[in-house]
């Protein structure tokens, strides 16, 4: 029972639910007077939802098949690979990264692009480098420099109105 098979079960289950929800939602679409020739505004979404249901069933069946083929050598190999994969992973780092990105995006309109970017860059560099404290001066310099340069170039040279936040 390899973890890839497990993932396929999750995928098919999740997409099956998505397909059903999408299909139900198509009944609430509004449409415009006089545009319904042959097929209406709900036709295509229904077709796609139905096809999503169908493919998720196929993926489920395939996963079942590969599970029953446990004796197969190739599968054993794959299992080993998957195990090795998880060993070299650090999900804590991933979750912290996603949280950092989210906080960055939420702070941008409040603090403005300049400050939020500088903070994010320092944080994310530390996270990915496994908190290499000896490099913190370098990170500080690069982060602040990049934030200032990007903010300046885009606002004042290209006139892309990046959020100013409290500096505005």
């Amino acid at each position: 029972m390899s973890s890839q098979t497990n993932r396929d079960f999750v995928t098919s289950g999740f997409m099956f639910v998505v397909g059903i929800i999408a299909f139900i939602l198509t009944f609430s679409f509004k449409s415009f007077e006089g545009t319904n020739f042959g097929v209406g505004v709900e036709f295509m979404p229904r077709v796609i939802a139905a096809l999503i249901l169908l493919t998720s069933v196929i993926i489920f069946v395939n996963a079942l098949k590969s599970r029953s083929k446990k004796t197969n050598d190739t599968n054993l190999e794959a299992e080993e690979v998957v195990e090795q994969e998880t060993e070299s992973k650090n999900y804590k780092k991933l979750v912290i990264s996603i949280i950092a990105m989210l906080i960055y995006i939420l702070l941008t309109p409040i603090l403005g692009f300049l400050i939020a970017t500088a903070l994010f860059l320092i944080a994310q560099m530390l996270i990915i480098s496994n908190f290499a404290k000896e490099k913190i001066v370098l990170f500080l310099i690069i982060s602040i420099l990049m934030a200032v340069v990007v903010n300046y170039v885009f606002r004042n040279v290209f006139y892309v109105m990046l959020p100013q936040g409290i500096l505005g």
């Binding site: 545009t35 006139y159 109105m161």
Partner: protein, 333 residues
């Protein structure tokens, strides 16, 4: 490498600024940076103003706005930064302006479509959500275009044919847009029935008429100017009160017995909580810009009229148009 990139960016930045500086040969020496806002006693504007155009770059809304913005900039002494905010028939751009701070540094530049989006239930925003600075450009050259080998030379022939062959004449529109409601009104007034087809934006309709997939293409004369000059297309008439100075030999719909007229109003508006003196300052700058002969020379190239209406007049005009649209919508349902 980073050093290299930085140097490059700086070089390019300098280069661009230089290009800005050396490249502008127009302007005609109207005293570019002398901000003229002393009358109101306020120091508006202190920083660049963002102009939201709820339409794509390169379209008529975008071109008219950018052209006028160039001249308003000269009056206000601060840059006007045009951003195109597309999506959902313009409602995204309209919402963006309403959600912005009402401090006079975000302005909407749009046209009749806002009213239609409200009318057809796409958006709950409309005239009363805004304080109007005014109008700088009117497009009065709305017309029905046919290709040169069309069966119809004028409206009379079109109406006669369409009466005998209901649902056979194909009209290229975009559902819920200005052209759509014009076609609805035309059907209402003349009692004919077309095959009204959604083809997409102006370029898609142009392609469809060139490819012979549709019979009639409602649009603005300016958009198909070169095709009329080359003889590929012909106009069945303009939807205005009187013949246009720019196209004196094109009859109006009224002359041909169809009582229609519509202007596309390119107005500028602030969120309704914006201070009056700020809107007034902007409105005054608009008035001066529209009166500028350079601007008038430039804008008539696009076959639109440089017409200044102040905030009140603009609001009144839009309310009249909304009344008309409501009437058409009710009678076609």
């Amino acid at each position: 490498m980073k050093k290299l990139l930085l140097t490059l960016l700086t070089i390019i930045g300098v280069f661009m600024l230089a290009a800005c500086g050396s490249g502008t040969e127009s302007g005609g020496g109207t005293g570019g940076s002398s901000a003229n806002t002393g009358d109101t006693g306020s120091d508006y504007p202190k920083k660049p103003i963002e102009v939201v155009v709820p339409a794509g770059a390169g379209g008529d809304t975008d071109l008219n706005t950018r052209t006028l913005a160039k001249y308003i900039e000269k009056e206000l002494g601060q840059p006007l930064v045009v951003s195109n905010v597309t999506g959902s028939g313009g409602t995204v751009g309209v919402d963006k302006v309403i959600d912005a701070q009402a401090d006079g540094y975000t302005v909407l530049a749009f046209h009749n479509s806002m009213l239609l989006n409200n009318l057809y239930g796409l958006s709950d925003k409309s005239i009363e959500d805004f304080k109007f600075a005014g109008t700088g450009v009117l497009d009065q050259a709305n017309t029905f275009i046919v290709s040169k080998d069309s069966k119809f030379k004028n409206l009379e022939e079109l109406i006669a044919y369409a009466k005998e062959h209901p649902k056979e004449v194909t009209m290229a529109t975009e559902v819920g847009s200005m052209t759509y409601i014009q076609v609805m009104e035309f059907q209402e007034l003349t009692g004919v029935e077309f095959n009204v087809v959604d083809i997409g934006g102006a370029s898609d309709k142009l392609t469809a008429l060139l490819g012979g997939r549709v019979d009639i293409f409602p649009t603005s004369l300016g958009f198909v100017k070169s095709y009329i000059e080359s003889g590929d297309f012909a106009s069945l008439g303009v939807i205005t009160e009187e013949r246009l100075a720019s196209a004196p030999d094109v009859p109006t719909f009224k002359e041909q017995g169809v009582d229609m007229e519509i202007d596309k109003v390119f107005y500028w508006a602030f969120p309704k909580e914006t201070p009056d003196e700020v809107v007034q300052a902007f409105s005054d700058a608009m008035e001066k810009a529209v009166a500028n002969e350079e601007f008038q020379k430039e804008i008539v190239q696009y076959w639109v009229e440089p017409v200044y209406l102040n905030g009140e007049e603009t609001k009144q005009k839009l309310e009249d148009i909304m009344e008309l649209y409501k009437g058409i919508k009710e009678s076609t349902e």
